[in-house]
Amino acid sequence: MPRRMLLLLLVCICASSLYAQDLAGIEVHGFVTQGFLFSSNNNYLTMQSSSGCAQWTDGAASISDSLTDKLRVGIQLHMYQLGQLGGSSVRVDWASGDYRFNDYFGVRAGKVKTVLGLFNDSQDVDAVFLWILLPQGAYPVDNKSVFLSHLGGEVYGYVPLGSRAGKLGYSGYAGQVNLDLTDGYVKQLGEEGLVFTTAPGGKSYGGDVRWEAPLTGLTLGSSALVEALDGTTSAGGIHVPPFFMSAQYAEFKKGRFDFAGEYRRVPASATLTFGPESFPDPVDQREWYVMGSYRLLKKYQLGSYYSHYVNKALDTSLPANYSKDWVVSGRHDFNAYAYAKIEGHFLHGTGLGYYTANNPNGLKPNSNMLAAKIGFSF
């Protein structure tokens, strides 16, 4: 189905009612966003952003039903176009059955969003964030399918620790990860000569523990994940043996203020094969960010963050191996269902988000960017 028809369908769903539809307990929700990006130098995220580009559309529709007190089933379809990434195909974002034995223990199975750090599972849900782009070191919008979801299962729950010790939320999961063929990592491999027709994938397992401290508004957490990737093409392939990544994070909400920070490390030893020859492609990504926001008025929110990424496995003095981004953002909510955002980026380094194909004359080390987005959610 052509992309425009799918978008039209989603918009019609949204326009048909301001509220989520509820047909005898069945819940239908959806969102649509449209973004715009302009950059002073370089073309970012496969868009012709140096000329101003609006090729940035996201849409999803979900349907779910509680079959019993303990059992809920649902599915969400998602499409996105980000420059040359994504495209007309509609993907199953998640589809799961969720059986909650009690408040301490539940099980989800199917295609499940992966809980990792503060925002991994919710990074596509633009309506819940002040930011247009989340810190790209930790949540690269062009490379999200590596960790976004898995086919398998998850156990989860909440454990109260007493009135003076807060409570603990946990999740543990295992399954199969498959990269999206239209995602940035696969595109980068294609630019190097490895054009995949079957998505690279591998086993993945991990968990997350987050402590809601007795100090109201404070959450501290830690995530860990082990993942492997393998894929072959007629020209060669990629092999990434199981690697361990970790994330530590904190969030503090007080009144109109919200602060958060996260540190992650992703060390992996990929091997790229071209015919009979193999080349090591080592990665030791260190990523962290700090962010703060303030709700100025009921409908206005302002904030700023700094995101830092460096690949320690390579020469960190080269702009291609780091990315440092200062960001300022503003958001206006027109009502409960529609909003607009604007965001400035002051980006140093070219380690994230740039592609050779639409930067044929090379990259300048620094670039400023202006992003804008409108969104609808019900």
Binding site: Y19, E27, D69, D103, V112, K113, V125
Partner: protein
């Protein structure tokens, strides 16, 4: 109108405004719900989707108003959340497949009607309801 009248009117309005902000809501539940009081931390956990059961183990069905001052008082006083944060938390749960949004109503009368007919339903209204089709629940801090 003289200056004194203006001052009385002004203080009256300010006082009325403060009272409107400060007033609390009344928690209502389906008559089949066995508990008569609930800890505020449990109330928060139920409305934020972290708990699905009352202290006696029975299933809880939180329901809410779509907007207005009563919703704001409930969220601020009992959940410590603004309407925007509350909505964002639930959108996150819905669009990641981790939860179903509480049913929301345009008016207190339709909320009361739903609570009266739905086992386990728990909601809130601005004043003690005239009907005896629902029960009121006390909140313990």
């Amino acid at each position: 109108m003289n200056k004194t009248c203006w001052l009385i009117l002004l203080f009256g309005l300010v006082g009325w405004g403060s009272a409107a902000v400060a007033q609390d809501v009344v928690l209502v539940a389906n008559k089949g719900v066995q508990i008569s009081e609930i800890k505020n931390s449990d109330l928060r956990a139920i409305f934020m989707g972290e708990k699905t059961r009352f202290a006696d183990g029975s299933h809880a069905v939180p329901v809410t108003l779509k907007g207005g001052a009563v919703l704001e008082v409930f969220l601020t006083k009992h959940l410590g959340e603004s309407p925007e944060e509350f909505r964002a938390q639930w959108r996150k749960a819905v669009f990641t497949g981790q939860g179903s949004m509480p049913r929301a109503f345009d008016s207190e009368s339709s909320l009361l009607e739903y609570v009266a007919s739905t086992p386990g339903a728990l909601g809130y209204v601005s004043r003690v309801p005239a009907t005896d089709n629902v029960k009121t629940i006390a909140v313990v801090r």
